[in-house]
């Protein structure tokens, strides 16, 4: 086959278009393989091999952030815990929905330093699921984790941070914004005409 014809060149274009989309899973796989980006894995399910209990203490700090356009109180109930490597630990985060409507929140985790991320395992985490919050609800959310003994020796302190996102209006946000603008306009018009 000769490359200098329209058909193979179009095929190259189609392949590259696909490659653009392939970069999405490749990116996650690469980050996971290289242990970068600070993303923690999903639920820990390895039941056979119980982790070795070592005489080694690691400080784990917790941070609760929220996305810039949210103002929901969200924080860990313990800022820092000392855990023995291999021992499970449970802590809780508290979130408040200060609005008067029902919302759904999603927490996205990140670990620093990122080389610790593959060694921090979660047995239970509120970040595994979207969290529905009714109007005004105060919710305590659990996190159960342990650190495995393969954690590089020089790491003495790990920070686990969560960023909270509002995922309620995912499809209807734009409509909601534009209709609220419309409401304001109508209100302004009514105000002017009443004068």
């Amino acid at each position: 086959m000769q490359i200098g014809r329209p058909a193979p060149l179009l095929a190259v274009c189609a392949l590259m278009f696909g490659f653009g989309f392939l970069l999405v899973p490749l990116y996650s796989v690469f980050c996971e393989w290289a242990g970068i980006n600070g993303k923690t894995a999903g639920i820990y399910e390895n039941v056979d091999a119980l982790p070795v209990i070592e005489d080694r203490i690691v400080k784990v700090q917790f941070v609760g952030n929220h996305n810039a356009n949210l103002s929901w109180p969200f924080k860990p109930n313990q800022a820092q815990v000392k855990v023995q490597v291999g021992v499970q630990k449970k802590i809780t985060f508290t979130v408040v929905n200060p609005t008067n409507s029902d919302v759904v929140a999603q927490a996205v985790p990140s670990v620093a330093p990122s080389e610790a991320a593959p060694h921090l395992h979660k047995i239970e985490c509120f970040c595994f699921n979207q969290q529905p919050l009714t109007a005004g609800q105060v919710k305590e959310m659990p996190l159960v984790f342990f650190i495995d003994s393969d954690l590089p020796k020089h790491i003495k302190k790990i920070t686990l941070s969560y960023t909270l996102f509002d995922v309620t209006p995912r499809l209807s946000k734009r409509v909601a914004v534009s209709s609220s603008i419309k409401r304001q306009e109508q209100f302004a018009l009514a105000h002017i005409s009443s004068k």
Partner: protein, 529 residues
């Protein structure tokens, strides 16, 4: 009956001048007509994009907010970048390719003439739609020409959908143009013209075309992901839904870095024609020039993350992208060395195309050197998003791409029109442009190093003097392009008749054609030995 039929066929072959009226341009399949349309289109876009830069520089003339709202300033910054990249530089190069490639390789026309027509006519519609977004509710794109998500998805004005569709259309146009170039060069060279006898402009365009078909689909992919994030509830770049905004930057710059070479390689080709012609010497190191272009093209795929040193990459990643980026300086240095060696001990004259080419070599080198400074990951942390970056990429793009295009236009204009341009006015155009350009972009290095951020409509008082100089330089540079338009009009209306070979040192098949170049050239291929 049979004689009638043969007569008709005969007529078609002999009497095949341009069609009359507007149909000549709408339905044209002639490479010269389409090339002219591309060049005129890009000139119009140069002025539209330039007037947007005018708004930006007028606002930055003094500290404080005087003329425009910050929201509008953002739209001007964004549209200036998009229009100059996709509307001015790229179509100008496709126009030059259309005009010159068939004449240089001894072919009668481009290989796919109807595709050629379609790829041009997509552009006016794409850009009308994109510029039209400025008049829509919420304004046009305001997120910078790099349209980082989620700024361009979650926080974008509603008109972003039209922007996405416009990018799709101009991407399709570029891909069609690139396919046409590759098919033409690979199949329609005159007998005897092997790859390593091809003129440099053909080589640079062949490589550019391969870069285009490799990365324009990736751009189409990334804007499609944006479209899906905005309208179909996916979360490619939305962290709340499990996506990653940094992924956007990776995919975008995977397209974006080869894109900057797409905008410079054809200029390398032009300069490699002009400098030998006015030095009366052969191009020094033809083979090394070809290998250097190929090396630059390959390296352009492994350097993209140097645009994003500050995103929080691992140390190893920063080292990798820093070294690969600095590696590019080697083939680029080879090219600059070869141009200088071509001039060395040549019997040089300094007509306008040569002035533009020498200006290209000097100023592009300045831009290249600031590029090496930016490639250093540890110091890039300081330079990131300052005016130093703006100075760098304008120094490689304006003297790089735009001066290359001017050199090409002045060099081949006598062959295209059959008329000679006014050398005095053209030299005036060069010198005013040269001074204006340096006044505009050189002080940007200083304000950038002093910490002035890019894309901000206001700045602290200590930057005021330099910014005033920059704005004055920008007005001078913009105004000097009016001289260019005047030179073009004067050439067409009252230019002196050009000779068959207007430049005595010029070589190549295009100069064997009569002046002006006939509507159909090389109906039978010439023999190259």
């Amino acid at each position: 009956m049979s004689t009638q039929a043969t007569d008709m066929v005969h007529d078609e072959h002999d009497d095949h001048g341009p069609a009359k009226g507007i149909g000549r341009w709408l339905f044209s399949t002639n490479h010269k007509d389409i090339g002219t349309m591309y060049l005129v289109f890009s000139l119009v876009m140069l002025f539209i994009g330039g007037s947007m830069a005018f708004v930006v520089r007028a606002e930055l003339f003094q500290p404080g907010l005087q003329l425009v709202e910050p929201e509008f300033f953002n739209q001007m910054i964004t549209m200036h970048g998009l229009i100059m990249v996709f509307g001015a530089v790229m179509p100008a190069f496709v126009g030059l390719a259309n005009w010159m490639l068939p004449m240089m390789i001894g072919a009668p026309d481009m290989a796919l003439p109807r595709l050629n027509n379609l790829s041009f006519w997509l552009l006016p519609f794409a850009f009308t739609m994109m510029i039209g977004t400025l008049f829509m509710d919420g304004g046009g794109p305001n997120f910078g020409w790099t349209f980082y998500a989620p700024l361009s998805t979650t926080y974008a004005p509603p008109s972003v959908t039209f922007f996405i569709f416009a990018i799709h259309m101009m991407g399709a146009s570029s891909i069609m143009g690139a396919i046409n170039v590759i098919v033409t060069i690979m199949n329609m060279r005159a007998p005897g013209m092997t790859y390593f006898k091809m003129p440099m402009f053909c080589w640079t365009w062949l490589i550019t075309a391969f870069l285009l078909i490799a990365v324009m689909p990736v751009l189409a992919g990334v804007v499609t992901m944006m479209l899906m994030d905005i309208h179909f509830g996916t979360a490619f770049f939305d962290a709340g839904g499990g996506g990653d905004p940094v992924l956007f930057q990776h995919v975008f710059w995977f397209f974006g870095h080869p894109e900057v070479y797409i905008m410079i390689l054809p200029s390398f080709g032009v300069v490699s024609h002009v400098i030998p012609a006015f030095s009366r010497k052969k191009l020094f190191g033809y083979n090394s020039m070809v290998y250097a272009i190929i090396a630059i093209a390959i390296l352009s795929f492994v350097v993209w993350a140097h645009h994003m040193f500050t995103v929080g990459m691992p140390f190893a990643g920063e080292l990798f992208f820093m070294y690969t980026t600095m590696l590019i300086a080697i083939p680029t240095g080879v090219k600059i060395f070869n141009w200088i060696s071509t001039m060395f001990r040549g019997s040089m004259t300094f007509e306008t195309p040569m002035l533009y080419s020498i200006g290209f070599v000097i100023l592009f080198t300045i831009g290249g050197l600031s590029g090496i400074m930016l490639a250093l990951a540890p110091v890039d942390m300081v330079y990131q998003d300052t005016y130093f970056v703006v100075a760098h990429f304008h120094y490689v793009l304006v003297p790089g791409a735009i001066f290359g295009i001017f050199a090409a236009v002045y060099f081949w204009l006598p062959k295209w029109t059959g008329k000679m341009y006014d050398e005095g006015l053209a030299k005036l155009h060069f010198w005013v442009s040269f001074i204006g350009l340096n006044l505009t972009f050189f002080p940007m290095h200083f304000v950038g190093l002093a910490g002035m951020p890019r894309r901000i409509p206001d700045y602290p008082l200590q930057f005021a003097d330099f910014n005033m100089v920059v704005s004055l330089g920008a007005f001078l540079f913009g105004a000097s392009q009016l001289i260019f338009v005047y030179v073009l009009i004067k050439t067409l209306r009252s230019g002196e008749k050009a000779e068959q070979l207007p430049w005595d040192g010029a070589e190549g098949l295009e100069w064997t054609l009569p002046t002006p170049a006939p509507y159909h050239s090389f109906p039978t291929p010439p023999k190259v030995d």
